[in-house]
């Protein structure tokens, strides 16, 4: 299989397999969680659930003052790569073309120079977080293989995308193919790893906060 064949495979059958696994997996997990339901809480409420739930969606997103914040480094780096990742995925011109071909509509792109800066910020932030995890005793202890798999699956689309756009080491065909393949691996892993948090994070935080609020716990 040469570069052109490889690119064609990842754009065609590879993408179809990845999208099928992604859509199937995410839907199964959602339905499984939703249909299982929650037990009805028969206790007398001691506070408002809704406000606490909404408040928790924000407070858990900026846990400053807690030990895990590490003087803002983890908070800043985590937000930086998340924002970079989402903005690049949604607003880089070639990505919009990709999404438009599936959704049937597109939107204006952000300047490529801004995308480049975001990609560099994203890459540096992720590497810094990984290094930090190695040297942080608690995080190192808590880190499991699946966490590093998720990190790698997230990091590779950023790195290969940057290389494809700026210095295609293996030629443009191979660089683009590797970038698309890394994206396919990323979406295939979403339903089966902690990457699923991209769909569940806000709901989970709301439910946690609402449960605490109902019990009268300050959040």
């Amino acid at each position: 299989m040469n570069d052109a064949d490889f690119l064609l495979w990842v754009r065609g059958p590879g993408m179809i397999i990845a999208v099928a696994v992604f859509v199937f997996g995410v839907l199964v997990r959602f339905l499984e969680m939703w249909l299982l339901g929650k037990n009805v809480d028969l206790a007398e409420p001691k506070g408002a659930a809704f406000g606490a739930g909404v408040r928790t969606m924000f407070t858990r997103s900026a846990p400053c003052g807690e030990e895990m914040c590490d003087g803002g480094f983890v908070l800043f780096s985590s937000w930086a790569f998340h924002i970079a990742f989402v903005l690049i995925f949604l607003f880089l011109a070639p990505h919009i073309l990709f999404l438009k071909s599936i959704l049937g509509f597109g939107w204006p792109a952000l300047p490529k120079a801004l995308m480049t800066i975001l990609a560099i910020i994203g890459i540096i932030s992720m590497v810094a977080l990984l290094v930090h995890r190695f040297f942080h005793a608690v995080r190192n202890f808590l880190g499991k293989t699946v966490d590093y798999v998720a990190w790698t699956a997230t990091f590779l689309p950023l790195l290969t995308g940057y290389l494809a756009a700026h210095s295609p080491l293996f030629g443009y065909s191979m660089s683009l193919a590797l970038h698309i393949l890394s994206f396919e691996i990323f979406i295939v892993l979403i339903p089966f790893t902690k990457l699923m948090h991209m769909f569940t994070v806000w709901v989970a935080r709301y439910i946690n906060g609402a449960a605490f609020g109902r019990k009268g716990v300050a959040v």
Binding site: N2, A4, L7, M15, I16, G25, R29, L97, F98, S101
Partner: protein, 362 residues
């Protein structure tokens, strides 16, 4: 009738081409092939002294576009003069002889120049059903290739069909078409892909073999690196617009009128290696992108099956939406089933739950 032993220099002089003009041509050819400047004079000297190189040209499953590209130059160029100066001993489109006489010319040349002639092949070779889908004088393309390749010094696979199978090889490939290098394994092969290939690239390759007596440096797909080292995108004059993010969205919008990048209209320039953007076509007049059309990637393997010509490279080549719909249906069924199993387990656990009382703690 010209003297068959006349050198190229003598022939060019006879046709009014000055030494100065010829040197200029050789300098540009040497430059084009990334040879040292000193090689230009040596190339001119060797080319001028060379006698007519015997060439046998086999046309198999093809459309004659490759021959048209090279033989019907825009005007009588030096390239065409050099083609006049090779001894094209067999080419069933161009030669006057036909039938048995044509085949006799091929066999005679093969015998006389055994081990020395250059074999040019355009067109793919059908392999299905014993190769019956393309025959010449009752001989299948496969048999003729095997027979003629035996005595060839080198083989030039001219055009995408000969180099990679091309259009005959495209899905569903009803004739089982394959490329020259799929069949011939024991001869040096130079692939000069393109649909059609650029005439200057063909003459450049032949000039290289004639002057240096060796094949040009080839890449992993057996293409001369000097002509196929860069992508169209690397050398495209619209590249600055790509870097600036300025793209034509349709063929008649403001971007198209301003000559912006055609990437979003499906241009395959970034993944296509060829010299179109530098050598251009029709006497250097233009090339497809300059005419406002995206590159189709015609010099790449399987270009015909590489997805929609007008679909941008980042777009999926398959039916993703249909797949996603099927995945939603399957996911809904399995998800509901998994949910039902979960609920049953939950209900069972609740039914079997034995509350802990203070008596249990005594």
């Amino acid at each position: 009738m010209p003297d068959p032993f006349m050198t190229l220099g003598e022939k060019l002089a006879l046709q009014g081409v000055t030494r100065r003009t010829f040197l200029k041509y050789c300098t540009s050819l040497a430059s084009l092939m990334a040879l040292p400047p000193a090689m230009a004079a040596e190339m001119a000297e060797k080319l001028a002294k060379s006698t007519r190189q015997p060439v046998i040209w086999l046309s198999f499953q093809e459309c004659t576009g490759c021959t048209e590209s090279i033989a019907r130059s825009h005007s009588p160029t030096l390239e065409s003069l050099i083609f006049d100066a090779i001894s094209l001993d067999y080419h069933h489109t161009l030669q006057a002889a036909s039938g048995g006489a044509a085949e006799a010319a091929r066999l005679a040349s093969m015998k006389e120049h055994y081990g020395k002639y250059i074999l040019v092949v355009d067109g793919a070779i059908p392999m299905k059903d014993g190769g019956v889908y393309s025959t010449i004088a009752g001989i299948s393309n496969y048999d003729m290739l095997i027979d003629t390749a035996k005595g060839a010094a080198a083989i030039i696979a001219a055009g995408t069909c000969a180099a990679y199978g091309g259009l005959p090889h495209a899905n569903p490939n009803p004739t089982g078409a394959v490329s020259v290098s799929d069949i011939v394994k024991d001869k040096p092969i130079i692939n000069v892909p393109g649909c059609p290939p650029i005439a200057t690239v063909m003459t450049g390759v032949i000039a290289h073999v004639l002057t240096l007596g060796a094949l040009p440096e080839l890449d992993e797909q057996k293409r001369p690196k000097v002509f196929f080292g860069d992508t169209i995108h690397d050398r495209c004059y619209r590249r600055p617009f790509y870097d600036q993010g300025k793209f034509a969205k349709t063929f008649d919008d403001e971007g198209a009128r301003n000559g912006w990048c055609l990437f979003e209209l499906g241009c395959k320039g970034p993944v296509t290696r060829n010299a179109c953007a530098t050598l251009k076509w029709n006497g250097g007049a233009s090339f497809p992108i300059e005419s406002g059309h995206p590159c189709l990637g015609c010099s790449e393997p399987n270009f015909w099956d590489a997805g929609d010509f007008y679909r941008a490279l980042p777009e999926p080549a398959g039916k993703v939406l249909t797949t996603a719909a099927a995945a939603v249906a399957a996911g809904a069924v399995i998800g509901i089933a998994a949910g039902a199993i979960g609920r049953r387990k939950k209900a069972k656990a609740a039914a079997e739950r034995k509350p802990v009382t203070s008596d249990d703690l005594k």
